[in-house]
Symmetry: C2
Subunit: 355 residues, 2 copies
Amino acid sequence: MAQILKLTSPADFIGKQGAGVISFGSGQPDLPPPQEAFAGIDLKRDLRYGLIQGEIKLREALSKEYPGSTAENFVITNGASEALDLIFRSWGKGGKVLLPRPYYYSYPPIVEMAGMVPVYTDLVKGRIDIEDFKKKAGGCKAVLINSPSNPTGRVEAIETLKEIEKITQKLGIYVVSDEVYKDLIYERENYPIQGDHVITVNSFSKTYCMCGVRVGYLWSSDKKVVEDICEMKTHTSMNTNLVGQDMALSAMKAPKEYIQAQQKIWRGRRDFIYKGLTDLGFDLWKPEGAFYVLPKCKNAREFLTLLYQDFKVITYLGAWFGAPDSIRLSYALDVKQIEEGLTRIKDAMKKVSVL
Amino acid sequence: MAQILKLTSPADFIGKQGAGVISFGSGQPDLPPPQEAFAGIDLKRDLRYGLIQGEIKLREALSKEYPGSTAENFVITNGASEALDLIFRSWGKGGKVLLPRPYYYSYPPIVEMAGMVPVYTDLVKGRIDIEDFKKKAGGCKAVLINSPSNPTGRVEAIETLKEIEKITQKLGIYVVSDEVYKDLIYERENYPIQGDHVITVNSFSKTYCMCGVRVGYLWSSDKKVVEDICEMKTHTSMNTNLVGQDMALSAMKAPKEYIQAQQKIWRGRRDFIYKGLTDLGFDLWKPEGAFYVLPKCKNAREFLTLLYQDFKVITYLGAWFGAPDSIRLSYALDVKQIEEGLTRIKDAMKKVSVL
């Protein structure tokens, strides 16, 4: 039996992707950014401080994607991570935040670091149970949703999103909607949740395959929310890096076909890994967006360790995402690699009881 | 008499530098970055997530500037601002932090947002009063020093810095040393404060005139400090933007003459503005580094407002930096502009009693 490693978070795998390793770990596209991202970028531009809120041209371009918006409704941030961090911090201490569980692994620490308390509503078949959601949202200061979801790959029904709009508006609480996978939905058009009480978090990382450039943003129609966040960012990081913002603006010029071509690739990989894992006997929800699967898995830590040590396959522990007895796989790999990874998983299943 | 504007922080002046305005406001070089910063930058590099701690090549290059260091001692951040924010947040709630006053205007909010309490030791003739420092450091979890200082332009004596090393070591508390102006000292070589209990904060912004690129870093020989900060940054912003890090690494190839030429320019401007303000009758400390002066000024808010509204001159209120009855001027302007600004200040002095 493999030695149980003290793997406590995805960060423990960073830098461990050596030769021959198949990594179902890291949640980022393996595809290249669009050529447009590089076109016309002038490094010798004015490199003095930019506006804390973000470059006006980039915010104007974004406003065209958000009907009824202006550049004033956006704050450009160092990725969606910073947007989330600033939002919760800007509310000061205290109060509960409702999180659907399983959740993106940074959500609980971000909420807790802001001095707030996470409470959970468990997904049913990978979707929000609106009755439980309603019950628990009362008494919260905010809810944080993520559709398409990391780690489940599930997309909430439009009716559910509209229901959430109504429930939270009635309660007078905020909805923070992390929509970083909005352009990676296979089954339907995106539905951006709406309202004065909504703060949307987004990013150029997944849509344009430029995670390392670290440009994200938040949208809010509430002037006070935007002002408070800019005031905080003045002290915590100042403007978001200017070259990255230029690249983000350029990337937005990529034709719609670029995104459609990506979706096709992701859908093909989704079909392949879903069938592969199902054929191996795993019980899992079918992803409808993003690029993650979360199969149930007994002895998950032992299996993860065996896979890594003896089979050179990286997977993440479901427990890191609030989903014990499961493992999370990202399928941001070409189909050949996914196939090889599944073969190794099949072999490893002979040594540990996982089903 | 001019209407008193509700100017509450430097951010209120952002975007207000129109035609004909002389700005002694913003604290950033007006000079261009070295040509080296742009050489060999390949935007089409791998743009997937980088290491949270920062690019290894950049950290290795930095380790050569810090004797006895390795790449493991550094964390690359979104400017010195993020470094400071992460340091204080990583310590969790509670505890006092000693700040010399006048201070950089973001220090108190950064300390307070981390759930800690700032306490102050007042500078005497622009320098740390070591007896008062010693008395107040007892009972603190950390001290935060800044030499050369924004807003005073003063540089602490090497003996003072060595004394601070000893006092804090004996007390078993941290020294956070913000040394972003370390390459802009006119009077002597830099003395980097040393010890296992020291965390140094630095930046490429001022040395290489690239504030908007947002690349800074922290140094610590304490493995736990580095690990805790990286763990936090995993959730709050992930890696620092990769193109910016490449530019920072390239900028480090600039010859020493680049920095020397800058110092000469800054010294010339310092001499000019110091003489000019002294000739006008202002009482001020002579800057020995950075690019700020902090003359005493009665009716400071009224004068600032008059200067801005009637004379198109931007200055900052000393009160924002913990120095009431003074104004802060940055001399990051060419001498011709400084001269014109001083003329306008002279004219404005006829309307408000400031001396």
